[in-house]
Amino acid sequence: MNISITKLLGAKAHIEGEEQSRPQMGKEHKILKYAARYWIMILEEPLKKIVKLKNYIDGEWADSQSDQILDVVNPATCEPMGKVPLSTRAEVWRAVEAAQEAFEDWRDTPPVTRARYLFRLKGLMEDNFEFLSRVQTMEHGKTIDESRGETRRGIENVEVACGTPSLMMGYNLEDIATGIDEQLIRQPLGVFCTLPAFNFPFMIPLWFMPYAVATGNTFIIKPSPRDPISQEKLCDLVDRAGFPPGVVNVVHGGAEVASVLLDHPDVKGVSFVGSTNVGKDVYQRCGEAGKRVIAQCGAKNFLVIAEDAPLDKTIPALMSSFFGNTGQRCLSGANAIVMGKDEFYDRFISAFIDVASRIRVGYGLDESVQMGPLQSKESKERVLGYIEKGVEEGAKLRLDGRKIKIVGDYPDTCFLNPAVFEGVTPDMTIGREEVFGPVASIMRAGNMDEALDMIHDNPYGNASCIFTSSGKLAREFQRRVRAGNVGINIGIAAPMAFFPFGGMKDSFFGVLHGQGREAVRFFTESKVVIQRWF
């Protein structure tokens, strides 16, 4: 967990002022002098060479035979950092076969023994905490605080799954009739797979994998091809923790690999995190094939700000909600509904824009950076399209994130600054659709009924938050709002590992959710035994 402070990487912008005043100084000298004086921390990149990603099947690392290879690109520096294969159909089948072969022995392994593998994995994750976090920043672009938060949340899921011997217990009742007893036992099903999104490359598979294997199933991870490296590093720790071959497997690829996994007859269930369109398809195909499914999908999250909300605490929470992870999370704030009189609104909007305009954007390994780049050039183009649409449809662009100002000498290919729209209505494209970027839409409502109508008219129901000092108002909101994750004076309503990750309406398809007890139920089936002895 040591934070090493190294030579600055591309921090030219930091020293512009000094350069102008003392042009005779050497640039390197100036950077170091500046760093020494002001303790600018630019953390060392943990990956120095291009990573050639391999599949991990049956406890072995294997090169894919595919000739389709994609570059993994650091979105801040635009430098390639990895090569990821789009695995072949045969390789996917081999992974399922290995997982299927490993299943019988693994399910016979006592839960307490299975949990011990996870305890070892947790220890290894702690030992490699900083390394794993920096890899995430490199491959995804998020800030180092955000990556560490992601690592911690991932570890918390492993910790919770370590309690599976208790969580997996069934229940029983003696004498359901005279001399007859009944019990419920939970049993694993077989091979499961996960198809995670790119926005939390390390954490999302950990909402599922630890619970799946702790309950005796075997597992296949198909990381997002956009940022698969932290999953490979995780799998390396799985290997070092000594899991038996085939219990955890990684197969790289894109939609085609996902499709093969979805259709494979030996895959008993799928967890998916991504867009609503794809999620619906996954849900439908799993339903047709009789597979279990958790499909966590798109979002358009509303944050209600009541007139009695303390702005000094509310604004930082909103900044994190709207612009944290560069707006690329399914729990991000998208629409802020401000209630109350003009005077309050004016104070709110002015504070919101003031703080948003001062957010430092740059490479996430620079500790002074508060917002990183979008994950890819395509992501940025998508967000730019939404900003243009917002302007076209008549919303007022109060802070133009297209005017890019970044800390450091990096290409602006994937960068945007925070954008704030005012006068957004729920029927506008930016008020209705998921932007998945650092764009805040500010709306107004006269009262709670009006705010809830606006929220409920939207097809999504992932998260919704309220900022208020009124317990009554908060309770009413909590009770009435149709969203799976609700925040009260919390901008990111992310459930801890021991609570399920909720979701309603078009944001979730399935019955049971990831994380905690619900995950244990998802990965087990209930068997009821009724017994009588003559």
Binding site: E16, M41, D145, G149, V355, E367, Q370, I490, A494
Partner: protein
């Protein structure tokens, strides 16, 4: 002039580490200086205990931060602290008066940082408050030695 602000939890933790390391180095050097003087044994031991405590302080802060950092907390969006306010010059301040000033600066940093993080990372804030009390106690000890 460009001023760097401590505007993220990560930056605050790194700055804390730097302060603790710099002041630990100072105490180790001061202890080394007192090595030959038999009558200053007590003072030497005090300096060494301070250096050791600095390492403990780093551990306390790191444990608090790495234990609670999550994708949920607002760890990057608070009013920044200015490093200019908390710079310490361990090369110049070698007399006890100067050392007490350094300790005051460090204590002030801990108190200010604790206040900034109170709403968003309360565990880290509590750790900072705990260390600031240690630094206050240290100032008293230094003043007592100074007589």
């Amino acid at each position: 002039m460009v001023l760097v602000e401590l505007n993220t939890a990560s930056a605050i933790v790194s700055f804390t580490k730097k302060l603790e390391e710099d002041s630990a180095k100072l105490y180790r050097e001061l202890a080394e200086k007192e090595k030959e003087k038999e009558k200053e044994k007590e003072r030497r031991e005090m300096f060494l205990s301070f250096a050791k405590e600095n390492r403990d302080n780093e551990t306390i802060v790191e444990r608090a931060y790495y234990g609670v950092i999550s994708d949920q907390v607002e760890s990057s969006f608070f009013e920044a602290l200015d490093t200019e306010e908390y710079g310490i010059d361990t090369k110049r301040s070698r007399d006890l008066g100067g050392i007490v000033e350094i300790e005051e600066t460090i204590q002030r940093f801990y108190l200010d940082a604790a206040e900034r993080l109170r709403s968003f990372l309360p565990d880290v804030s509590n750790a900072f408050n705990r260390i600031s009390k240690r630094r206050r106690k240290r100032q008293k000890m230094l003043l007592e030695v100074d007589g």
